[in-house]
């Protein structure tokens, strides 16, 4: 499980960074979204990976971290998801405004002179 999760985070972040460095605004926003997925999984995994463990508050159950999943990263990741979602939405608006004002979807607002693309 550890390897699968580590690979997932690595692939998501790696693809995200690659897309973030691309010249089109849509690629940038996709890259930022993928990075935030990777980061969210990473925060989640910082509470240690555990199978079949109980939530914290169960009656008649000794709720220590040895028996339960760590609730703290779950709370953190929830906040991070909400903030990331809001920021992505805001970035999307700016992206559309930039497309409308500049007439191109290049991140610099103009095509590079002599670019092969």
């Amino acid at each position: 499980m550890e390897v699968v999760l580590a690979l997932a985070i690595g692939v998501l972040t790696g693809s995200g960074v690659y897309l973030l460095l691309r010249p089109r605004t849509f690629q940038v926003i996709m890259g930022l979204t993928l990075i935030s997925y990777g980061v969210n999984l990473f925060i989640f995994s910082m509470g240690r990976l555990k199978l079949d463990s109980e939530p914290v508050l169960v009656k008649g159950f000794n709720s220590t971290l040895a028996n339960t999943a760590d609730p703290m990263p779950q709370a953190l990741v929830l906040t991070a998801i909400v903030i990331g979602f809001a920021m992505t939405a805001l970035f999307l608006v700016v992206l559309l405004a930039s497309r409308g004002l500049a007439g191109t979807d290049h991140v610099d607002g103009e095509e590079r002179k002599g670019a092969a693309e």
Partner: protein, 568 residues
């Protein structure tokens, strides 16, 4: 008088620790209230904004007094800790008002108050929701300065950034949207780094409380220290990006110069937030008692600071536009501060704190002043007619026509009376800003630089880093002087159309106030420097901060002890 002060002190004691939350709650509630008012009621909103700025400033000054006065709290240097959820320190979030954070909140209050007054003159009409965004920006800044919890710091950073995105785009136009796109992208990437670093620290130490983190790191097994160092380096990268450290600062100058001027003035605080976080976390996490982790990353801090200083100084001579000059001055001051923090001596930190106050006030005043100068020179346009005509072959690329920046060219309606002797005011203010930014005597920029250098040489002897710092500090001051005098000559002595500038009082007062604050800093340099020195020594020995946070007591339950259920 003394009786009055005693009464005030008793009142302060009575209102603590709840007063700690006031600089966060007042802007939040003001912003919420303003959103309920329609866009039509601009006068009401402007008035609310200024009043909220004043209340925030007064609350910040009251906190500063409570922290330092001999008869309040536990005497001078008492630390106010507020438990917003009434949970004890490592479990719930905490707000902490110590010397450093109250100083920063007071600085924020001064700059924000000036910027909100200036904006009511004309710039708040260049788009919608200016004042609510400004208030939310203030809330984020004050919260980030006051919080004692790493994740809460992230949340306040995001509040502050979200508001700053809106403020940067205020006034719209292609240039701002372009700069905003880059600004948002880099800040989202930096926020991801922040989250990774914070999560990694939590994974290793099991806490997010900044005071608790420091103590846990001191007890950490050697095998885990590598992870903590990696987490700290990732966190620091995020803060470097926000503080404008080279090489993560290419977004800064375009963004700051594209923003409308009151926003630029407030943005001068945002880089200082990055610097504050670096100082706060570095001194708490890697304090002298942190074992083999003590002063981790010191050489990196110095190197990055010096590189930023160098890049900023080169930039300042390489530009001819006034707003770019202000942007590069922000970089120079960020580089100076990061390098001074890295030198790691309380005496240098004291000079750096003094310099931070002076340079922030000066840059903010400069951003506001630029707006007035450009409007006067161009008769309301953003670029002079003789420069548009294409008959100025030696103008730099960055002076190209910027027609779409000023949306309110027709909005010449003035609230206040135009003050007489406008040119004299503009010229004198410009000279004042030049002296402050270049660090020349007699104003406070010089005092701050001198204090940093003397601190570096008296305490750490003559290390190579101190010598390079000295050389770069003097060289950058000299380059700033060249650039600013050249610009001053171009703007004041080669005036193409000799009209008197129409300066409304609402715009003159904030600039005059900020510069007067710098003069006051110079006149009372002794007390301020003593205060900065105690603050810096407190940072060097964080035991008091840790004890205050960890021993903060909960408010007892008003209902008599419940029979069962979860005790907080």
């Amino acid at each position: 008088m003394t009786a009055l002060m005693q009464l005030l002190d008793r009142l302060l004691d009575f209102s603590m620790p709840h007063l700690v939350a006031v600089p966060i709650l007042v802007p939040l509630l003001t912003a919420a209230l303003m959103l309920l008012l329609g866009e039509r009621r601009r006068r009401t909103k402007s008035a609310l904004s200024v009043v909220s700025g004043l209340v925030g400033l007064l609350a910040a000054l009251a906190l500063l007094r409570w922290v330092n006065a001999p008869h309040t709290g536990d005497g001078p240097g008492s630390i106010g800790v507020y438990l917003p959820g009434n949970w004890r320190a490592p479990f719930g979030i905490v707000l902490v008002a110590d010397r450093l954070s109250t100083l920063m909140v007071a600085l924020t209050g001064v700059v924000a108050f000036a910027a909100s007054i200036y904006s009511t003159s004309r710039w708040d009409r260049a788009g919608v929701h200016f004042h609510p965004l400004l208030q939310l920006q203030l809330m984020g800044l004050n919260g980030a300065f006051l919080t004692g919890d790493l994740f809460n710091l992230f949340v306040f950073f995001e509040v502050m950034l979200a508001a700053s995105y809106g403020l940067l785009l205020h006034g719209s136009g292609r240039l701002r949207v372009q700069a905003g796109l880059h600004y948002i992208a880099i800040n989202l990437a930096a926020s991801s780094l922040f989250l990774i670093g914070a999560a990694l620290l939590y994974g290793v130490t099991g806490t997010l409380n900044m005071a608790d983190l420091g103590m846990r790191i001191a007890e950490l097994a050697p095998a885990d220290r590598g992870l903590v160092h990696a987490a700290a380096a990732i966190l620091a990268t995020a803060f470097f990006a926000k503080a404008g450290a080279w090489p993560l600062n290419f977004w800064l100058v375009p963004a700051y110069s594209a923003a409308v001027s009151p926003v630029g003035a407030v943005f001068a605080l945002l880089t200082k937030l990055g610097i504050y976080t670096l100082l706060r976390l570095w001194t708490l996490l890697f304090a002298p008692d942190a074992g083999s982790s003590a002063a981790f990353g010191q050489s990196a801090l110095i190197a990055i600071g010096l590189a930023t200083l160098f890049a900023g100084a080169l930039g300042i001579v390489g530009t001819q536009r006034l707003s770019n000059l202000a942007g590069f001055s922000v970089l120079v001051s960020a580089g100076t501060l990061i390098a001074a923090i890295g030198l790691g001596e309380p005496a240098v930190w004291a000079g750096a704190l003094y310099y931070l106050l002076s340079s922030t006030l000066a840059v903010s005043a400069f951003f506001l002043l630029i707006d007035m100068i450009e409007r006067w020179r161009n008769a309301g346009l953003s670029v002079a007619p003789h420069e548009q005509a294409g008959n100025a072959p030696f103008l730099a690329e960055d002076l190209r026509v910027l027609d779409d920046v000023n949306l309110d060219d027709e909005a010449q309606a003035l609230y206040g009376r135009a003050i007489p002797a406008g040119v004299a005011f503009l010229g004198l203010s410009f000279i004042g800003c030049t002296l402050l930014l270049a660090g020349l005597p007699p104003l406070s920029g010089f005092v701050g630089k001198f204090a940093m250098l003397s601190g570096a040489f008296v305490t750490s002897g003559t290390s190579a880093a101190a010598w390079i710092f000295l050389a770069l500090l003097i060289a950058s001051g000299f380059l700033a002087l060249i650039a600013l005098s050249r610009t001053g000559m171009r703007h004041f002595w080669t005036q193409p159309h000799p009209t008197m500038p129409a300066l409304p009082l609402l715009e003159v007062l904030p600039v005059a106030g900020l510069l007067a604050a710098c003069v006051a800093l110079t006149v009372w340099a002794g007390p301020v420097m003593r205060h900065a020195l105690i603050t810096a020594e407190g940072l060097h020995a964080p035991a008091a901060y840790r004890n205050a946070v960890m021993n903060a007591r909960q408010v007892p339950n008003p209902v008599a002890a419940p029979a069962k259920g979860l005790a907080p």
